[in-house]
């Protein structure tokens, strides 16, 4: 019997639009005058305050022109726009805007801290998005973009402060004060608090997720960090955190009607992408397969994580130390 795999994806319903994607491929971020091979750059916090940034504008004009011609979109109605956003305060500005074909584009656009302090001076980093975009409304035609503001090609660059993906998820003490604030019953052992409405819209996991452990248990584990029992607990806590985050991503995608497209939905959220990839790799799945399995068979993903993280062995070792 042939097995047919079905995968849902968000498809932009515009004929020929894929041809435009290539035109921004050569664009790159420059840090201290050095072009970066990756679109996501991570810097130490002390470097971020001193670094200079620029965006190298290498547009494949022929690719743009051919694609627009195929789509029967007048080149004069299409612009190149660069929008930048600071990660802490959401300060957002259009830092560059010009017709994509009709002017001599500069070689690069400076991302100036002096001109845009709340964006490029943001101590949490910033995001820069380059778009080839429709500048005017066009006549409505099937399979052709017509609304002003519709992007035809896009590329995203990100500058962040160095931190371990899970560093923001250090457990916190669940004191009576915190427990009451979160309206949790006395006797709660752990709680994964997802702050805010949308994990996919957040700028970082540390801002969205807090993992609490009952204060007395926390203190005992802290005092006996290297004991076998504490290690077994810690692995189970990691599994609980990961399952909670992945479930929230799936729930959030479903709420937006984008279930099955988690790869593209989480595309701009680098920490979630990194976390998802890491878990998927450990379970020998692709990210899409991971979310499919999570929806269909949640305990299976949990079992996979237990196996990948040696949870059973650690628990056995912990019990072994108690027998002695």
């Amino acid at each position: 019997m042939r097995t047919v795999q079905i995968e849902r994806r968000t498809v932009r319903p515009f004929a020929g639009i894929g041809d435009l994607d290539v035109c921004l491929r050569s664009m790159s971020l420059k840090v201290n005058n050095e072009p970066q091979p990756d679109a996501a750059v991570v810097r130490d916090s002390f470097e971020l305050q001193e670094d200079t940034f620029a965006l190298r504008l290498q547009i494949d004009a022929d690719a743009v022109s051919n694609a627009l011609e195929k789509m029967r979109i007048p080149a004069g109605d299409v612009g190149l726009v660069i929008v930048a956003t600071g990660k802490c305060l959401k300060a957002t500005e259009v830092v560059f805007r010009a017709p994509v074909m009709e002017t001599e584009l500069p070689d690069e656009v400076a991302l100036s801290r002096t001109a845009h302090p709340l964006i490029f001076g943001d101590s949490s980093g910033f995001t820069v998005r380059a778009y080839v975009v429709l500048e005017r409304d066009l006549q409505v035609r099937p399979l052709t973009p017509y609304l002003a503001g519709t992007w035809l090609a896009a590329r995203e660059f990100s500058v962040s402060v160095r931190r371990d993906v899970l560093s923001g998820l250090r457990p916190q003490r669940l004191t009576d004060e915190v427990r009451r604030g979160l309206k949790l019953p006395a006797g709660t052992k752990t709680y994964l608090h997802i702050v805010g409405d949308s994990i996919l819209e957040s700028t970082g996991l540390a801002e969205t997720v807090a993992f609490y452990i009952d204060a007395s248990l926390f203190d005992r584990l802290y005092a006996n960090q290297s004991s076998a029992v504490a290690e077994a607990f810690q692995i189970d806590f990691v599994i609980e955190i990961l399952m909670g985050i992945l479930s929230e991503v799936a729930r959030d995608s479903d709420a937006l009607g984008l279930g099955g497209s988690e790869d593209s939905v989480a595309g701009s959220h680098h920490e979630i992408v990194a976390l998802t990839r890491e878990v998927a790799e450990r379970l020998d799945l692709t990210p899409s397969e991971l979310f499919q399995t999570l929806r269909k068979d949640y305990p299976r993903v949990k079992a996979g994580l237990q196996a990948a993280l040696n949870s059973s062995k650690l628990a056995q070792r912990a019990i072994g130390t108690m027998d002695k």
Binding site: V83, A91, G121, S123, V133, T175, V195, E201, S202
Partner: protein, 246 residues
């Protein structure tokens, strides 16, 4: 140079204040260069004076406003709107390194605005209202959310009308549909949504669906380059679509 508070220190100080213990001074001085503290002290002093005045008049304010946002107290959110303008105007020229330091917003919330936050979010409100309880700063942090509320209104509207936009009450609209999501990155869109809400062009039961449709449109549209008229007509189409579907 400015005061800052870590999440752990903020949690300790809140616990002290809530059980009536004398608060320990766990503030840390950080940064180099110009000392921002005198400017910030002046803003905080005006904030407290204005809050005391507005608080005394909240009852009268509540009688004037017909509540429609079930999630919050409309009169309190109206006060938050006014104080957001004061906070934004007072702090907007402070160094970006201070304004983008999570510890600074925690310091403001716990050291300078504790009484206001307990009044606004409730005396049993969670630590995130003070920027504590999580490693990062969430949009529940009152000091940060108020500054950004003022900034969004100021960027979107003229000098005459921005304060009116910042003062549009709607706890849920501001927090769930603007600040916590990418709509907050487009001040024009955020203000169009708020004004339509304020004019009651969007019904209470429709706001979540409108917000959801806007989120989905983000995957195709760059709101930041759209003008007020284009954004307005996009928003109207979403409202119409929801009514057609229901």
């Amino acid at each position: 140079m400015h005061w800052t508070l870590s999440s752990e220190s903020a949690s300790c100080m809140i616990e002290d204040l809530r059980v009536g213990r004398a608060r320990q001074d766990l503030r840390q001085l950080t940064g180099s260069g110009r000392d921002s503290r005198p400017d910030i002290d002046r803003v905080c002093s005006s904030f407290r004076e204005r809050f005391a005045h507005l608080r005394a008049n909240t009852g009268r304010e509540a009688e004037r406003v017909v509540p429609r946002d079930k999630s919050g107290d409309v009169a309190k959110d109206s006060v938050e709107g006014r104080l957001s303008c004061l906070l934004f105007e007072g702090l907007k020229d402070v160094d970006a390194r201070v304004l983008t330091d999570p510890g600074f917003w925690r310091y403001l919330a716990v050291w300078e605005m504790f009484e206001y936050i307990e009044w606004r979010d409730g005396s049993d409100c969670g630590l995130p209202s003070f920027g504590a309880g999580t490693h990062g700063l969430t949009w529940d942090c009152a000091s940060k959310r108020m500054f950004v509320r003022g900034r969004i209104a100021n960027e979107a509207r003229s000098t005459e009308s921005w304060q009116a936009v910042a003062q549009i009450p709607g706890t849920d609209v501001w927090r769930s549909h603007i600040l916590r999501v990418r709509t907050g990155e487009s001040p024009q869109l955020a203000c169009a949504l708020l004004e339509a809400w304020d004019r009651r062009e969007i019904r209470t039961k429709e706001i979540r669906d409108v917000a959801k449709r806007i989120k989905r449109l983000r995957s195709n549209l760059v709101f930041e380059i759209m003008d007020q008229t284009q954004i307005q007509s996009t928003l109207e189409r979403q409202i119409d679509a929801i009514r057609r579907d229901s």
